[in-house]
Subunit: 486 residues, 2 copies
């Protein structure tokens, strides 16, 4: 049922070789200029042809008076022009044989009145020429694997594995920095705008086929093609998880989304049903959506819902246990075999219940290597949560114990932290169960940054880690059901 | 009903003038040494008398063989010694006339067996000498206003306004860095340990009376004196909010907290009832607890539950509206008077519904000064949420429009951001309604950092801001009810 990616409507939109750029000029303040700057800044390797009625050059690129003058037929028309001229320009693009467009310009259906007629006009033109387009009233798209960032924000991190389609442009672009705070990035992000031609379902089709996309995220205010959404999602979920954040289920949300995108949102229960039937995991916030993506993209999938928690701090362990339990996860005691192997590492103050609370390890390698190695093999659990805490000062103080102080202590502490995080990362590569770290520290902490950069899933609190694990278990369930034809 | 702070049991424990320090040595690895290092590092201004059987000096302080040899009677005995010797040492302290102690040592009731008898023994000694103590099995206390940090972690931020009592030491110390990520700090933090003598209720009494504490936070696995807790909380809530995070309401949480602190936790519903009767706001995570503290500590309290949302990005605005609505907040349309004043600032693409979505302002001062000034006065709302977004790149790009580039642009962008944040902070000082910012950026972003450093409440997502506002409204309701005697 899955199409080859080259045959999906979005393929040449987010992987263009040649772009006709409308609306960029040498005026820095113009939105089109800003978008062209973004495209150039990420080092796009294809050809860009600015179309400008007066300028010979735009941002040092040779400009053309009309798209009809171009020496080639570009893959993509990128249109950031006043509303009124968009139909005419799109018509020219059609004549030139361009088959794909992104229309950033607003002032269409979302403003009502004449905008509705204008939107119908561009749809008709596209139909006449067999064109597919994203927008209007969107903020563009980003495909860092193709060095293509056609959005207003600079994309500064590495290309990632999260494919996103969003009915809010903000949740594509304004999340670049947020994601980089977890060492994450997009595989492809698409702001769908008014969805006059390409919609969320088309995005699912592309992201399902995209080899760089390990997990799909959706920001949804309304689903315009319900049946197709369900069918498309069900065809993808067996091999790729989909996470959605839906807004509009409350009175305030309903009004706000209508005013934002003209969305006719439905009650929560309806969308719960649609998502359940589709096998789509529902998140309760943007942050939670990306938490789920992080774990689903980095970890092996759990076979079931039994979790083991390792900690050396009682409070964070208790919180993790409490939330796991609320989320329907099971905390089994460890098996007697595991207990036998574990004993040597747990001091008399510790607890071998679940959570396993080590309280204190003489040798920190025990906590980060020997113990998880024993626990992950426990047959009474399908997944593991582990509390990560290694503040620089405690390592430096330990070194002081050996008479190592000052700058030398700082540098040795750094080397020690690097080494420990490498050990954890290497260790979990061999695991076939999910292993999710939690901490109140983030990437500003060297240990956490190293772990994340080495592919370890770490979330910034026990609550978030436990909920993400529960989402992974939901994915396992959904997948099984769909494969069984339920 | 409120005692003068000097008469509370905790007063000299967290405001000691002279400390007898047991368990510190010149061995860096020892826990006691680490704790003494922390006390010294924060620049404690009182006298510290290390008691050590062999050393003449401990960390360059003159040491004494016995507490009985001291030239003065210290306010506080700080005990980090092996379990078995604690009773004898406490007895000596009693003889010396010391009336306060913190007992960090573990191995008491929490380990069962002989530990139970040992705990009874220290309680009896304390009773005999009229001593009050925190612990055993705790990690100490911090009172940065007194330059007193008797915990394992360095306290690096400014003294703050959050008073915390916690049944997990981790949630005192391991949150120092977390709080500083919001520009926050503790007024006083107390790890209550086994609560053999001083418990959460005593902490409430102290924190209620503490002039530096604007809001009280509690991490709770069990409440040992239910009636007293309710009475004490009700006596405080009329003038100071209390926020609690309770863990133990689920099966997994119950088991984990029992193994952690021996807590006999009760079902969620029971604790919901206790908190409601006490006027204590319940949070669903540590992060949420501190979100609530941040807003309650920084903002005027809302008179009611009607909220106005200002944004220039549709998605974040819709999310805020959706969550507000789910949390029982009301989004009224603005009054016609407000609409009249607002019109000039809203372009045709914008929306004057609620959320007010400006979409785009020619002059960014409109968004951060003129518009909130108009909106905050709207009589149809009691509070305001505003979306904050000012990434450095967009300011630099705007400057490029004026031909300002390179280093000059970076420096001018910085100055512009400083200026804008100062304007916002100055503006809201005049408001008597809560004004809460939300953003996906944190303190690493200069604009957000400046706002927070100038006392503006900013939370890192629309969901968190909306929930914090709802918590403030709950506080208003609780306060009214208690004052009315309900």
């Amino acid at each position: 049922m899955q199409k080859p990616i080259e045959q999906t409507a979005l393929y040449r939109i987010v992987n263009p070789r040649h772009i006709a750029m409308f609306g960029a000029s040498n005026r820095f303040a113009a939105m089109g200029t800003n978008l062209l700057s973004s495209i150039l800044a990420l080092g796009f390797e294809g050809d860009i042809y600015p179309i400008h009625p007066e300028e010979d050059q735009v941002l040092k690129l040779s400009a053309y008076k009309s798209v009809l003058d171009l020496p080639v037929t570009p893959d993509l028309a990128f249109i950031v022009l006043p509303t009124a001229v968009v139909p005419e320009i799109l018509e020219d693009c059609g004549k030139k044989g361009i088959k794909q467009a992104i229309i950033v310009s607003g002032g269409f259906k979302e403003v009502g009145g004449n905008g509705i007629a204008l939107e119908k006009q561009i749809c008709d033109i596209a139909a006449r020429y067999g064109m597919r387009f994203v927008g209007p009233n969107c903020i563009g798209a980003v495909n860092p694997h193709h060095k293509f960032n056609a959005t207003y924000f600079p994309y500064n991190q590495a290309a990632g594995f999260i494919g996103m389609a969003s009915q809010s442009g903000s949740f594509i672009t304004q999340m670049f920095d947020y994601l980089s705070g977890f060492g994450l990035g997009y595989s492809t992000g698409i702001s769908v705008g008014n969805e006059a031609n390409i919609d969320i379902v088309d995005c699912l089709e592309y992201l399902g086929a995209c080899p760089h996309t390990r997990v799909i995220s959706l920001y949804i205010e309304t689903i315009r093609r319900g049946r197709e959404f369900i069918d498309m999602a069900r065809s993808i979920v067996p091999y790729k998880p989909i996470v959605a954040y839906y807004v509009g289920g409350s009175e305030g949300g309903k009004k706000a989304t209508f005013s934002h995108t003209g969305a006719l949102s439905g009650p929560d229960k309806l969308y719960d049903g649609v998502f359940r039937q589709s096998g789509v995991i529902r998140a309760n916030s943007i942050e939670e959506m990306f938490d789920f993506c992080l774990c689903l993209g980095l970890c092996p999938k759990p076979a079931g819902n039994r979790v083991l928690i390792q900690t050396h701090s009682g409070g964070p362990g208790a919180v993790a246990a409490d939330v796991c339990s609320r989320e329907g996860l099971i905390l089994n005691p460890i098996t007697t075999q595991t207990l036998e192997k574990l004993k040597q590492y747990v001091p008399h103050t510790g607890s071998t219940g679940n959570p396993i609370d080590i309280t204190y390890s003489k040798n920190s390698m025990d906590y980060y290597e020997s113990i998880p190695k024993v626990l992950i093999e426990d047959e009474a659990s399908d997944a593991m949560l582990i509390y990560f805490l290694m503040p620089g000062h405690s390592v430096r103080r330990a070194l002081e114990g050996f008479g190592i102080t000052g700058e030398k202590a700082t540098s040795q502490a750094g080397a020690f932290i690097d080494d420990q995080s490498k050990t954890v990362a290497d260790l979990i590569k061999g695991f076939s169960k999910p292993f999710i770290g939690f901490s109140f520290y983030t990437r500003e902490n060297r240990f956490i940054r190293n772990l994340q950069d080495n592919g370890v899933a770490v979330l910034p609190s026990p609550v978030r880690a436990a909920r993400a694990l529960a989402a992974m278990v939901r994915y396992t369930d959904y997948r099984k059901k769909i494969l069984a034809g339920c």
